[in-house]
């Protein structure tokens, strides 16, 4: 009888994990790939979004009554700040670009040829 080398427990574990993953994914994909699942998932999402929309509307009304800014108000303020920030960015970029142009960065020559053409060249020369 030939001597059977005992299997590395690590490799056995890895194999088991791979097999388990494959089986589980295959099963889950079958379940989740049905029209019924899609319908249920999207209905749940719709209900969540409806709730979220209603809550958002309720909060907007309440905050308005309390003379407090809503999320949209804060976002609008954020947009205004971002717009100023972008103008500053553009000015900084322009200044940096001018500086770079003055420094005239050294770049490698754009003359590289692919290895295959070097081989062809050598073959032709030979």
């Amino acid at each position: 009888m030939a001597d059977e080398k005992p299997k590395d427990p690590g490799a056995v574990f890895q194999e088991w994990v791979t097999q388990w993953e494959r089986n589980f994914d295959s099963f889950a994909n079958k379940v989740m790939g049905t029209e019924g699942f899609s319908q249920a998932m999207n209905e749940t999402q719709k209900a969540q979004l409806k709730m979220q929309g209603m809550f958002s509307q309720f909060m907007t009304e309440q905050l308005g009554k309390m003379n407090m800014p809503t999320r949209d108000d804060v976002l609008r303020l954020g947009e205004a700040i971002t717009a100023v920030d972008r103008r500053l960015e553009r000015i900084e970029e322009k200044l940096a670009l001018d500086g770079k142009k003055k420094r005239s960065k050294k770049r490698p020559a754009r003359t590289k040829k692919p290895a295959s053409s070097q081989i062809d060249k050598k073959e032709n020369e030979a």
Binding site: A28, M41, N42, E93, R107, A109, K112
Partner: protein, 358 residues
């Protein structure tokens, strides 16, 4: 074997087992409290930024570069550091070492005022602007583009609507084109049940968690299996480093501009307009048959996000005569990063692109 010897072996094995379990536990604790894995370490400059858009130029790593610069376009749902995970595991570093001048389009989370970004914003504004920036920076007219996943779709739309533009070569990595072949995503986005208008109108920006959930639901066991494999390999530093870099990439999935999702769902997923040649963006017809530049499509055999049915016909619908498809083993992400990519994809990409970059 005598009994005392058997006992000794058993004792030794048990000691090793217990010691390894202790080491793994200690390492798990260390990792739980460790800073995120550093990624994107290849030196670069931010050449241009506007809102969600970032354009990087990587510092050349060779004395001589190919004439035509390369612009990588990342999918809008993920960070581009997957192209530059870690030294030795970086596609950008590889391309630089092979002599390419590399530029990358990356994305930040869209700001609330960017919820209205559309396909036109990406393909008629962001990409053309970046191409122009690359032209200005290099002094070259020609530019090659490599698009990954939806970045590939955006690149295709750009190429189709700028057929007389400066594009020299187009490489699409795991890029779906027939959206009716998207498998589970077609079922979940069934127009009878998926109310994309309500989703976009309510949320404005689609949260990153929802995008991640959509990805993870397609391989529900992947996360747990990954953690089990990590436990097994916990004492292998290289494996742990790589795992954490990939995990960071997954964790930093980006939110999505609502209008962009609405448009991609209706125009691309439901009506399959890009594939059928009916897509119009900013008044320009995006007919893929108008693309005439040399084209390479690299796809993965076990890609669940861009299934084979969605990628198979890409080369049939473009107008290029110089075109090639490379089908490789692996999945959606392992095609571009990790040991599979190093061994299989990058060298093939280098050979194809270098011959067309002079």
């Amino acid at each position: 074997m005598s009994e005392p010897a058997l006992d000794k072996n058993l004792l030794g094995d048990m000691q090793t087992f217990v010691q390894r379990a202790i080491d793994r536990g200690r390492r798990t604790f260390e990792l739980a409290t460790a800073a995120p894995e550093p990624v994107g370490l290849t030196p670069k400059d931010v050449l241009y930024s506007r809102g969600t858009l970032r354009l990087y130029h990587y510092h050349p790593l060779s004395d001589e570069v190919y004439r035509v610069p390369v612009l990588l376009v990342m999918a809008t749902t993920n960070k581009a550091f997957v192209f530059d995970l870690a030294p030795g595991q970086s596609m950008v570093e590889f391309l630089l070492k092979q002599g390419f001048d590399v530029y990358v389009i990356d994305w930040e989370p869209p700001t609330p005022e960017e919820r209205g970004l559309t396909l036109a914003s990406y393909t008629q504004d962001f990409i053309p602007t970046c191409v122009q920036k690359v032209q200005d920076d290099t002094g070259e007219t020609d530019v090659s583009i490599i698009g990954y996943c939806m970045g590939g779709v955006l690149s295709l739309i750009y190429a189709a609507t700028h057929a007389d533009g400066p594009l020299k070569n187009l490489v699409c990595l795991t890029t779906p084109v027939n959206m009716h072949g998207m498998g589970l995503q077609n079922v979940w986005n069934d127009k009878r049940y998926f109310d994309v208008d309500r989703l976009v109108d309510t949320l404005g920006i689609i949260p990153a968690d929802s995008v991640t959930q959509m990805f993870e639901m397609q391989r529900p066991a992947q996360k747990i299996a990954g953690q089990l494999r990590l436990w097994e390999q916990m004492l292998d530093d290289e494996y742990v480093k790589s795992y954490r870099a990939f995990q960071r990439w997954g964790d930093e999935t980006l939110p999505l501009a609502g209008e962009y999702l609405r448009e991609t769902t209706k125009e691309l997923m439901w009506d399959n307009k890009l594939f059928n040649g009916d897509l119009v963006v900013s008044g320009r017809k995006a007919k893929l048959s108008k693309i005439k530049v040399p084209m390479l499509s690299i796809v993965a055999e076990h890609d669940h996000l861009a299934p084979r049915d969605s990628t198979r016909e890409l080369l049939d619908v473009v107008g290029s005569t110089d075109k090639e498809e490379i089908l490789l083993k692996g999945g959606h992400v392992s095609l571009i990063a990790g040991p599979n990519a190093v061994r299989r994809m990058w060298p093939r990409l280098d050979v194809w692109l270098s011959e067309r970059s002079v």
